[in-house]
């Protein structure tokens, strides 16, 4: 590959490894098992990778046609601030997803599924490392008062519950979530990385292609286990059911849709030359792609139930069952997977707090809607703090105690800093190296 690899200065590199020891203890298993699960693949490298040979001209926005910027000081103040917030959010997602995956990683039924997710986590660590490279290798003082050390410290201090984006503040309930998250939420990551390839700030644009290549495997680490599970579900395997997968989809798809930002927004990203699609446009393409995922899984399920059918016949049967809401030789349309309505269970964007059901039905009463959520979401998730806060806020919105807009803004309750290193000997992730006194002449 045409990439330049680089490592962070020691204090930042050590901070990432220190964080890894606490939040990603399984990382050490990866080198041991690499050759078994990923034969012929290059060894994993915890480093920043910058694509070589990307264009020098800005592709979109107000500065289209001008040279790509190489340093933060070349950006307008608003522009620089906006990009910095994108980089921080991106970094937060990378470390956040590792914290989520780690909790249920050991519950994988198959070793291969587990080591695929383990590799995904390691590559997310690399992606976070990549964002730290962008934060620490350049001077951002023109747009922030925070030092590089404090920016890194802030991101490493985030926990599930205090990350920038909602999807990274929700606990996994089982290994089904590890896999569905990879198929649904990592797909948003793919869209963001693809859009950001045009970025007017060249180091950020150069970071995208290597991350995108790795992201392709992350999506497969979600979709392929799901394909195997639906096949087993069709054959009567009881431990992973279509219903369990459906509920996990209902849990994650709304959060994925919200990760694109408000449906009416995205102009600044284009104007500043950071992305090439507005939020609603990207979100629609994403939803269409999710529909393909679900159609593929349903076809796999139907072929496992009726091996005599060809691929095309199975596809046609799936389409007919869902369109007519009917049954065929013991398979009901309700046995198949469907995406929830785009307005279902939303707390951000145009449909936030509107009480729309998975199939687009509207609810008038909060209690009836909560009952619907209980019937469509994973049972353990119903008892989570996230769910309790959602229902409380929904009651406030419907009673007029808070506006929908304000409710969206206060979700999640951010506690950005406070998760300091749990080591007894340290209170910070980034530890300054001791200053060595220069040798003195005798």
């Amino acid at each position: 590959m045409n990439v330049d690899q680089t490592t962070l200065p020691k204090k930042f590199h050590d901070a990432v490894l220190h964080w890894q020891r606490h939040h990603f203890p399984d990382y050490g298993l990866l080198p041991e098992m690499w050759h078994k699960y990923f034969p012929n693949d290059p060894e994993f490298c915890l480093c920043a990778k910058m694509e070589v040979g990307m264009g020098d001209t800005i592709e979109v926005g107000d500065q289209k046609g001008q040279p790509r910027m190489l340093e933060p000081s070349e950006m307008l103040e608003d522009q620089g601030r906006h990009l910095l917030s994108i980089i921080r959010a991106q970094a937060s997602t990378e470390f956040g997803s590792i914290q989520q995956h780690e909790v249920t990683l050991s519950r994988a039924q198959e070793d291969e599924d587990r080591f695929w997710v383990l590799r995904v986590m390691a590559e997310e660590l690399r992606h976070g490392y990549q964002m730290f490279h962008l934060l620490t290798s350049q001077d951002w003082s023109a747009v922030t008062d925070q030092s590089a050390e404090d920016m890194v410290e802030e991101i490493l201090s985030m926990r599930t519950g205090s990350h920038v984006l909602d999807a990274f503040n929700i606990d996994y309930d089982s290994f089904v979530d590890n896999v569905v998250f990879a198929a649904v939420i990592d797909r948003v990551g793919k869209y963001q990385l693809a859009m950001q390839k045009v970025c007017a700030y060249k180091p950020f644009a150069q970071s995208m292609p290597p991350m995108l290549r790795e992201e392709a495997f992350h999506l497969a680490a979600g979709v392929v286990p799901l394909r195997r599970w639906v096949q087993r579900a069709a054959q009567g395997y009881e431990l992973v059911t279509m219903n369990a997968i459906q509920r996990s989809l209902d849990k994650w798809v709304p959060r994925g849709l919200e990760m694109f930002g408000h449906e009416k927004g995205g102009d600044s990203n284009i104007r500043f030359g950071f992305k090439n699609l507005k939020n609603a446009e990207a979100q629609s393409q994403y939803f269409e792609e999710l529909q393909k995922v679900v159609a593929d899984l349903n076809t796999r399920y139907v072929r496992a139930r009726f091996p005599r059918l060809s691929h095309e016949e199975a596809e046609a049967l799936v389409t007919r069952l869902l369109a007519d809401r009917t049954k065929f030789e013991g398979v009901s349309w309700e046995d198949l997977l469907t995406l929830p309505d785009r307005r279902y269970f939303r707390r951000k964007g145009v449909p936030a707090w509107t009480m729309v059901g998975t199939r687009g039905e509207s609810f008038e009463e909060v209690d009836a809607y909560v009952k619907h959520l209980a019937a469509t979401l994973p049972d353990p998730y119903l008892h989570s703090r996230d769910m309790r806060q959602y229902v409380e806020t929904l009651r406030d919105v419907t009673a007029g105690r808070i506006t929908a807009d304000l409710a969206s803004k206060k979700t999640p309750n951010l506690k950005r800093v406070g998760g300091v290193c749990p080591c007894s000997k340290s209170v910070r992730w980034v530890v300054e190296e001791p200053v060595t006194a220069p040798p003195t002449a005798a």
């Binding site: 392709a216 394909r227 095309e312």
Partner: protein
């Protein structure tokens, strides 16, 4: 991206292509092998999806070509691209689908530093050999050898 109806669109491999790739192979070989193709597609996604062009017509995957960039094997030090697997839906053969995928792969592999492309073809597979010669392949100085392991 919109394209003219019936035109061939070439794009990198994605995990969403699994169903159609399996179906194309099934049409070519008569055997349904989803597990095999899941394993293969994941392998090539890990290597480099952009080195594996997929052809679409009217939104339907009609062909795939999996290639890999390597060097230092069999005493061949130069960076070379290997065309390892490809298939075109029989309903769409004769519409330059294979050629378009080959051109895309060639351009990408050249950009990654490949100075030579290689592949292997069975003596009985005259259609495949004919296609490969038509896009520029010639007999190689290396000869493929094998033996059964007792």
């Amino acid at each position: 991206m919109n394209s003219a109806p019936g035109s061939v669109v070439i794009r990198p491999l994605s995990e969403l292509d699994l169903g159609r790739i399996t179906a194309i192979d099934e049409r070519l070989t008569g055997v349904y092998k989803p597990d095999v193709w899941e394993r293969r597609v994941v392998y090539y996604l890990r290597r480099d999806p952009e080195a594996c062009p997929v052809a679409e017509i009217d939104g339907k995957v009609v062909g795939f070509m999996f290639t890999d960039l390597r060097s230092g094997e069999f005493g061949l030090e130069e960076t070379g691209g290997w065309i390892e697997r490809f298939g075109v839906d029989p309903d769409y053969q004769g519409r330059s689908v294979g050629r378009r995928m080959f051109e895309s792969a060639q351009e990408y592999l050249r950009g990654q530093g490949a100075t030579v492309l290689r592949t292997l073809v069975g003596p009985a597979d005259s259609d495949l050999a004919g296609f490969l010669r038509a896009v520029g392949f010639q007999n190689a100085p290396l000869q493929a050898l094998e033996m059964s392991v007792p």
